[in-house]
Each structure stands twice: as C-alpha cells, then as structure tokens.
Amino acid sequence: MRRLGRVPYADALDLQARLVAERQSGAIPDTLLLLEHEPVLTLGRNARRENVLIPEPALRERGIAVFETGRGGDVTYHGPGQVVGYPIVELPPGRRDVHRYVRDLEEVMIRACADLGVVAGRIPGLTGAWVGHQKVGAIGVRIARWVTSHGFALNVSPDLSPFDLIVPCGIRDKGVTSLERLLGGPVPVDRVLPRLADHFAAVFERQAQDAPVAPLGGAR
C-alpha cells in the first residue's frame, strides 16, 4: 500500500500506467494507492459531455482541470478531502469477475463508513456507496489482462460545490454527499485512510504492508 498525499491527476495516470505494466510482468506485488487529487473533473469512456454542465473555460477559471480517462463510468469530480483509492491488483483466477470486483470495492467503502458511524449501502443497478439516495463513494475501474487500475473515491470532507457542475456518473436525480456532511462535523482524512486500508485488506484477503513512497513523474 502506498500513501501518496495530494497528487495531480495526470501524474497519477502516468504512475498507474507504469504500475499496471509492472504488475502484469510480475515485477511488483499487488499495490493499493491511497491519495487525494487537486480539483479535477474526469470523464470515463462512457461519459457524455452534456453531463458537464458548464463549459471548460469556466471550469479552468475556478481552478478545476478536466481529463478524459480510460476508465469506465461517466463523469465525476475529485478534489482535496476526497480519498481516492487505486488498487493495482491482479485478480486471481477465482476472482475474475468484474461485477464482483466492483461490489468488493463498494464493500470496502461501506465498511469504512460504518466504522465512522455512517450506514451506507448499495442501490441495485447504480454502482457506488450510497446513503439513502445520495452517493458518498464512487467507482470507476479499468482492467487489462485482469490487472486493475483506477478504483474508488470516498467523499470524506471535500468541497461538494463542484458536484453541482456535473451530473455525477451520468445519474440525474440523485445527490452527492460526504461523511462530513452526514456527520455534521469535520472528518480528517487521516482518520479514514487506515480504515480503508484495513477493510481493503480484509475484503481482498490480503495483508497490507506500507511501501515506501516512490517519486512520481519523471523517468524511473
């Protein structure tokens, strides 16, 4: 497991691409990246531009970058206060089921929420971790030869106003919320990270080991 602190989206994309290749060749073990991003809107393969409700120049004025990615899913927002997890794992033969993988990621987030006193659950047909009709955790995954990348994002205490600029994941009529809003008070990200790590390990039946933080970007 690697905790990377706050990372620009582009750097994270490069890092993931590298790690996926290394995992495919067996050079590294299964790895979970935990981080936060600078404010950014990302569009998945199935994204529709009309789900970004204001034009790009306006976004840039607010300091929000826009990225098109190779992950599944529609459009979503990442920013400080939102914990992002990118598991780079090779799904073993018994777990090669994308539905199951997505459900497992939901499980990780649901359990972490429970630890903090928030009852989250699933809505059939709508991927993610939900509290009532509001989404607290989102998922977008990419798989190449059964090695995963991208992953999940849990709204711990982000600024939720940028979500008004998009139709998150293309799902209208359902709002977005955060642990902070649900609990009515600040929730430090550092409190949530270990919960996520532990639950990830449990759900995926591993033991987490902290790995040294490798420098990002640049040729290595």
């Binding site: 998945g44 190779g70 090669r96 089921d97 994308v98 991927t127 990419r142 798989i143 190449a144 030869r145």
Partner: protein
C-alpha cells in the same frame, strides 16, 4: 485462423460492449497484446489478442453490445502457407471442404505453387508480408485464375480469409437488401479498377469476384443491361450477390412496395423495406464522435417514421381554434372533476371528444388502406402520443366513441400515468385508428406530425396561449391554439380534411357544456 470472442468478465455477465479497437484490420498482432477494449457499466477492460497473426476481420464495431462468446474479430495465420494447421480452434473441425474452383487461400497467402502437397503443414518456406493486394494465382491456360485448393482443414468459404481488410460478414438475419443501407466498409482490394479489359489471369480472387461475381449474377446483369459496378455488393469480397442484383432491379423499376418490417425470404424480387439506398457515411475517420447504440424503442421509432413516409402521401393542414370556451369550461369544472372522480381535467379530453365527433361525421379519417380498398373502421380507438424520457409511445383508448368526457378524461389520466411508470400492456399500445399528438406541450406553435401506420391521419395540437385576435372588428384577447392535421392524400382529399377540421374547430369553439 483464430476467432476472437467477447469474453465473459464475470459469472453473471452475459454481454459486453466493444468500445475501442487498438488494432485495425490488416495489422499484425502479437499474442497477449492489447487488441480491443470493452466496457460494462463501471468497468473498462483491455482484452488481449488470443493468438499472433494478422487481424483479418473486425466484426463488431465500437459502440456495439454483443453476447459473450460472440466472435468479434478474426485473426488469420501470419506467414504460414495455406496448409498450416489452424490456430487453436475450439469448435468441432470443419469437414467443410470447398470444391476446388472456389477455394480461397487464407489471408495473406499468395498462391503456393500448385505442387504444394496439401497435407504438409507449413512446409512452404514462403513467408510473404501481409500483402493486401492480389496474390497471383498460377494461371492455367484458359480458365479464369483459380488459387490452389487449401488444406483439407481450412474452411475456405468463410469470408474472412480472403484478404486482410475483409468485409465483415453481414448478419444473415436481414435479407441482403436491408444490409445495403448500413455503412459497409469498402471492399478490400480497391474496386476502383473494375476494368474488365484486364486478363482474368491477372486478377486476384477479390477482383474476379467484384467484376465477374458468379454465373447467375452475370447472366441477370447481361439480361437487364446492368453494370455490376453500379450495384452495391454485400457478398464475400464485396461482390454482387444474386439477391443484390435482384434488389437493384426492383429498385430500378417500381418503388418498393410498402412492406412489413419482417424481412421477407429472398424469393425472386421479394425485397422488403430498403431497396438499395445509397449510403452517406455519417462521419469521417478522425472526426471526434461518440457512438451510442440505439435503444430498441429508438430503433423501432426510426424504422416506423421512415416507413410511414414511404407509405402515405403526407399533407398537412393547419387550423386556428379559439380555445377560450374550452378554457372557461375547464376552469369551471376542474375542481368538481378532481373532487368527485379524482380526475385531472386537462385540455386533452375536450380535444379528444371533439375529434371523435368529427370522425363520426367524416369517417374516412378513421380508416386504413388495403391494396386498392379503403377499410373503414367502425370503432374509434384513439391513440395519444406520449413523449417519455426514453422514447415515444402511443397508448390507445379503446372504443373512445363510447365514452363521455369524464370517461375520456379518466382514460387519458390512467394511460399517461401507466405510460410513465412503464406499466402499459402490449395491446394497449396497438390497434389505434387515429392518433392525437401534442407538439405544443414543448412550446411549438404547430407541428407536421408523421402518420402512425396503418392509420390515415394524425392531429397535432399546438401550444395553447393567449393571443390578440379580431372579434367583431375589435381586438380581443383569446386563448388560441393551432391544430394541424396530417392526412394521407391517397384516400383523404383536402376537402375531407378541411371538413373534418371545421367540425373539430366548431366542436371546440362551441363545446356543449352538457357533456361535462
């Protein structure tokens, strides 16, 4: 030859959507190299090539969803001679053995000189680059050039092996005619030089197929003086098949008869919906686009709209109606209807009632055309077009002529509610004899709706708003609406249409309060 299939990404997953091809037809692929990407709702997966070779065929385009195990592409053997055993072919082996004249060598294989013993696997040292252009077959003296027969095991009639950029085999379901319409990638060997002056011995198999097709096609072309170059070919190598040329001839003579959307068997001349329609490519390569497959309801709507236009002689007439009285009655009785019968009283029931009365007076508007007869419908089953998020449907109020205004209002409310909640039964959206649609709800002044086959007319209601009008040489403010009637001029003349509309207009402007 290896089939590339849509993988199953999980136990409960039955289909996948191709989102991107990383390789193009004709490219070399290495085993395990990323070949294409698929997606399910939140997961995108990169799928590696199952074998090395040349990508000879892409059968499923990005944006298409197919069931798992569907063959989405085919990888041909790379450099081996024709006798190379096929790549791990999971299916039962093919005793498919072509008659020698027809045999096509697998993809980039130039004809191994005739002596190549059929049973010697990969014996020939010939390892050509994947040449898309004509493999030169040996030229026996007088016969058209025929490539040497492949090994027993090679299924030679599969369209794929012909040349790298093979035409994806059209799905056998629709008659070839209907396939003339979708965008068909250009045939492999450039057909530009369909120059019959060249000696046949110099032509590749592809070229022979494109220029000379088959005996029956040549015969029909000669009999009817048709230039094969002018006919769209849906067969292997892009050749013109018998069905293609028959379809072409059909299109040349009469217009295609209005046919049901059920594909007709390819009996002589029996082409159904689409005579060979020239295709305009919807986008150019490199253009930024997003391809989203049509939902079933969208497909059906698309087909029906085009079909209706081909069947009926569409003419529209627009009438201005003073809705003030209806407005007044509506206000007066709205609460009572709500309280007594829990029914929302909108404009629509009034319009439906007036329409029914007009249909009784001018019954040709409530009929259908069968061949050379007019079928007058004794009952009035009123269709009401409803625009939902996911598409357009037309629930039907059956025997509307038996209902009073309250009954109509109830039926309208009920159908709209159940349409929105997807609780309509199949027979509730069928069997209408007349349709009313409401373009005005979105603000349109009036529309020119398309007739709902097999009916012969459709009434569109424009937006109802207050406008200044002249009454008794003074300006008054009235609730006005434009009502447009599209009718089928095959059996409804302008006079019928206008009499009908005059009746509707009068019925609304002088609505009988006793009906409420």
């Amino acid at each position: 030859m290896t089939d590339v299939i849509m993988p199953q990404m999980g136990e409960s997953i039955a289909e996948g959507t191709v989102t991107k091809w990383m390789k193009a037809v004709g490219d070399t692929v290495e085993r395990d190299e990323p070949l294409f990407e698929i997606s399910t709702d939140k997961v995108d997966a990169e799928i590696p090539a199952p074998a090395s070779g040349i990508l000879t065929e892409i059968r499923v385009q990005p944006g298409t969803t197919v069931s798992i195990n569907t063959v989405v592409a085919v990888i041909g053997a790379a450099a081996a001679a024709s006798a190379a055993p096929p790549a791990p072919a999971p299916q039962p082996p093919s005793p498919v053995v072509p008659a020698p004249p027809a045999a096509a060598p697998p993809a980039p294989n130039p004809a191994v000189p005739t002596a190549a013993p059929v049973s010697a696997p990969a014996a020939a040292p010939v390892a050509p680059p994947p040449a898309p252009a004509a493999p030169r077959p040996p030229a026996p003296a007088t016969l058209p050039a025929r490539p040497t027969p492949p090994a027993l095991a090679a299924p030679a009639l599969v369209p794929a092996p012909v040349a790298p950029a093979a035409v994806p085999a059209p799905p056998p379901i629709a008659p070839p005619a209907a396939q003339a319409a979708p965008v068909v990638p250009p045939p492999p060997a450039p057909p530009a030089a369909r120059d019959d002056a060249r000696p046949q011995a110099d032509m590749s198999v592809d070229e022979l197929r494109q220029t000379r097709s088959s005996p029956v096609v040549r015969r029909i072309a000669a009999e009817h003086n048709v230039d094969l170059n002018a006919v769209t070919g849906t067969g292997i190598s892009g050749r013109v098949t018998k069905q293609d040329i028959l379809t072409h001839l059909e299109g040349r003579t009469a217009s295609a008869p209005p046919a049901a959307d059920v594909p007709a068997p390819a009996a002589l001349g029996a082409t159904a919906v689409a005579p060979a329609v020239p295709v305009v490519a919807p986008y150019r390569p490199g253009e930024r686009v997003e391809i989203i497959p049509m939902s079933p309801i969208r497909k059906r709507t698309a087909e029906h709209m085009v079909l209706s236009k081909r069947i009926s002689a569409h003419v529209s007439t627009v009438w201005e109606v003073d809705m003030t009285r209806v407005d007044h009655l509506r206000q007066k009785y709205r609460q009572a209807y709500q309280e007594r019968s829990n029914v929302k009283l909108t404009y629509l029931p009034f319009i439906v009632k007036a329409t029914i009365d007009a249909l009784k007076a001018i019954p040709v508007l409530n009929s259908s055309v069968e061949g050379e007869s007019i079928v007058f419908k004794k009952d009035i089953h009123m269709g009401l077009a409803v625009a939902l998020d996911w598409g357009l449907i037309v629930p039907v109020v059956r025997n509307a002529e038996e209902k009073n205004l309250l009954g109509i209002a109830k039926a309208v409310n009920d159908l709209a509610e159940r349409a929105r909640t997807k609780k309509l039964k199949v027979d509730e959206v069928q069997g209408g004899t007349f349709t009313i649609t409401n373009p005005g709800v979105f603000g349109s002044l009036f529309g020119t709706p398309i007739i709902n086959q097999p009916q012969v007319a459709i009434l569109g209601i424009g937006t109802i708003e207050k406008r200044p009008v002249v009454r008794d040489d003074a300006i008054a403010i009235r609730s006005m609406a434009y009502l447009s009637l599209t009718f089928d001029h095959r059996i409804v003349d302008g006079s019928d249409a206008d009499r009908f509309m005059a009746h509707v207009k009068k019925g609304l402007q002088e609505f009988d309060e006793n009906a409420l």
